[in-house]
Amino acid sequence: MSTAALQSSRPHGTAAPGPSFLRVLNSEFIKFRTLLSTLILVGSTVLVMVGFAALNAWGIGQFSEASRNDPQAAAAFAAQGADLTAGIPTSGIAFAQLIIGSLAVLLMSSEFTTGMARSTFSAVPKRTPAFIAKLLVVTACAFVVTVASSLLAYVAATPILDNYGFDIDLGSDHSRRLLLVSGVYVAAVAAIGMSLGTLLRNSAGGIMSLVGLFFVVPIAFQLIPGEFFEEARKYLPDSLFERIVTAAPAEDALEVWQAWTWLGVWVVVPVAAAMIILKKRDV
């Protein structure tokens, strides 16, 4: 420990690089990948997606075996045909969205709970670039992990389906749409999660709100009788996702473009609120 090492580096007064957006993005990516919790949560997402797909494939196979003696069931089964198996690779998405969403909450809330925010926002005192950079890292990760784990799930489910004489046509329009929309949807959930983490600055509170929104509220709306709740349920993010990917919508369903718009609102409102609050509030 000597002070001699200080005699170094640049002469003062020269224009030295500051926090440009790409540099901040690079910094946020370093922060993202150097936490064990990130790796664990991404790993569990892959496991859940692959596990659910395998289980689902096996279940469909078993059901088809059982329905062979029942001509009515067999007919109903055949009518659904390829759509049934197309959903297999993304069948774990209800859980994947919660895990990735929680990861997104944690990545921001931990900045505040650990005090890291003071370092982050000393380096990037305008704050907004750091938020956008983190948002980009989180949503890109959510998309890639969802699509990649769906593809892995496909690989895992195919031999199981093969046993029962089924297969998944990954090239079909429906399959491709499911894959991409799932990725975009989980990215949207991650954006909402990160906003909750920014607004609440608390890991437990953020995750509970996210679980509430994506797990408790949809169920509650389904259980509570009344037209209002039935109608309102259509506008919840998970219903919007279902609407976008379904090939055969119900009669009173929203148009696809409406569903996309509402999903956009679900993302833009919390993200904008988070950015404004982050800029205004003391760290």
Binding site: M116, S122, A123
Partner: protein
């Protein structure tokens, strides 16, 4: 140079920093001294743009911190040794910070060596002692080779060797012409380190002067006097601006009169004096004197139960 003008921070009903104005000059170590809860950390966070002042403003080299093109290269700060995600290694923490300003890995390695973190740099911060955390915070502050260095309680938790190291480091940085602003609630540490002192209590600046001046106080001399006839001497010494305090049987403390004048009075009146010691206030005494009305948490021990007397939360 750091310049604060009318800096104020109000939290709800409590005014943490109350219209504070001061200037921290380059080329010397400026100490920021005050009891816990006096507003030191709040002031420093406002300098770094982390807390928004309720009113007033503060600039670093003429510009608000957030407006600098390369903030980390302008100001390095240790605001809190726990400003780190403890799940990350020290090296990765510094690397992520450095990335925002394209500071090369070589410099990251340099500050790690400089702060003596070499052996633990690849370990998670979770297992760090308070002292190691302080060293990491100082490493982060030096990362951008900044012209201005702000350190909040840098010696907290450091071992004696680390304390001496910080002392030499800040003096060296100041000798290079940098602006060094460090806070502490330990006057002994400030006496060893700082050239200039800003003393704060309950959010107000109590003193802003070179350290020597603060120790001498208002230029009043003090002396300890032992005599056989304390009452007579007290009566004779009594005058405007002179206060005499009876400390013990035959022991007086006289303030506001040079020792020579006391001796003269005693001699003229044939009073025997068997001790006459001019007193120089230590920084500690000067500090206690300055802050006696300003401390937020008084220790009060009563017979029976100790009564809690704090008047508010620490900011």
């Amino acid at each position: 140079m750091i310049e604060a003008t009318g800096l104020t921070k109000v939290y709800g009903e409590k005014t943490a920093v109350d219209g504070v104005s001061f200037t921290v000059q380059a080329g010397r170590v400026t100490g920021f001294l005050g009891p816990n809860g006096a507003g030191k950390s709040t002031t420093m966070r406002m300098i770094m743009g982390l807390d928004r002042p309720t009113s007033g403003s503060v600039t670093v080299n003429g510009v608000p911190f957030a407006q600098h093109a390369a903030p980390l290269r302008e100001v390095g700060s240790l605001l809190d040794a726990k400003a780190v995600h403890t799940g990350r290694t020290a090296y990765n923490h510094l690397l992520a910070m450095a990335a925002t300003h394209s500071i090369p890995r070589k410099r990251v390695q340099e500050v790690i060596e400089m702060t003596g973190l070499g052996e633990v740099a690849r370990k998670k911060v979770k297992g760090f002692s308070l002292g190691m955390g302080q060293r990491l915070g100082i490493a982060a502050a030096l990362l951008g080779d900044p012209q201005t260095i702000i350190l909040d309680e840098p010696v907290n938790g450091l071992d004696p060797e680390g304390v001496v190291w910080v002392r030499n480091l800040v003096k060296y940085l100041a000798s290079e012409g940098r602006t060094v602003f460090l806070s502490s609630h330990l006057m002994s540490e400030m006496a060893m380190t700082a050239d200039h002192l800003i003393v704060i209590g309950r959010g107000r600046i109590i003193a802003d002067a070179p350290i020597g001046e603060i120790i001498t106080g208002k230029g009043q001399s003090r002396a300890r006097v032992r005599t056989d006839q304390p009452e007579q001497l007290m009566r004779l010494l009594a005058d405007d601006g002179v206060s005499v305090e009876v400390q013990d049987h035959e022991l007086l403390e006289v303030t506001g009169l040079p020792a020579r004048d006391i001796a003269r009075t005693a001699l003229d009146n044939r009073i025997m004096v068997y001790e006459l010691t001019p007193l120089q206030a230590s920084l500690e005494e000067a500090y206690m004197e300055l802050t006696k009305d300003e401390v937020e948490y008084h220790s009060l021990i009563t017979t029976g139960a100790a009564a809690p007397t704090q008047t508010g939360g620490q900011q």
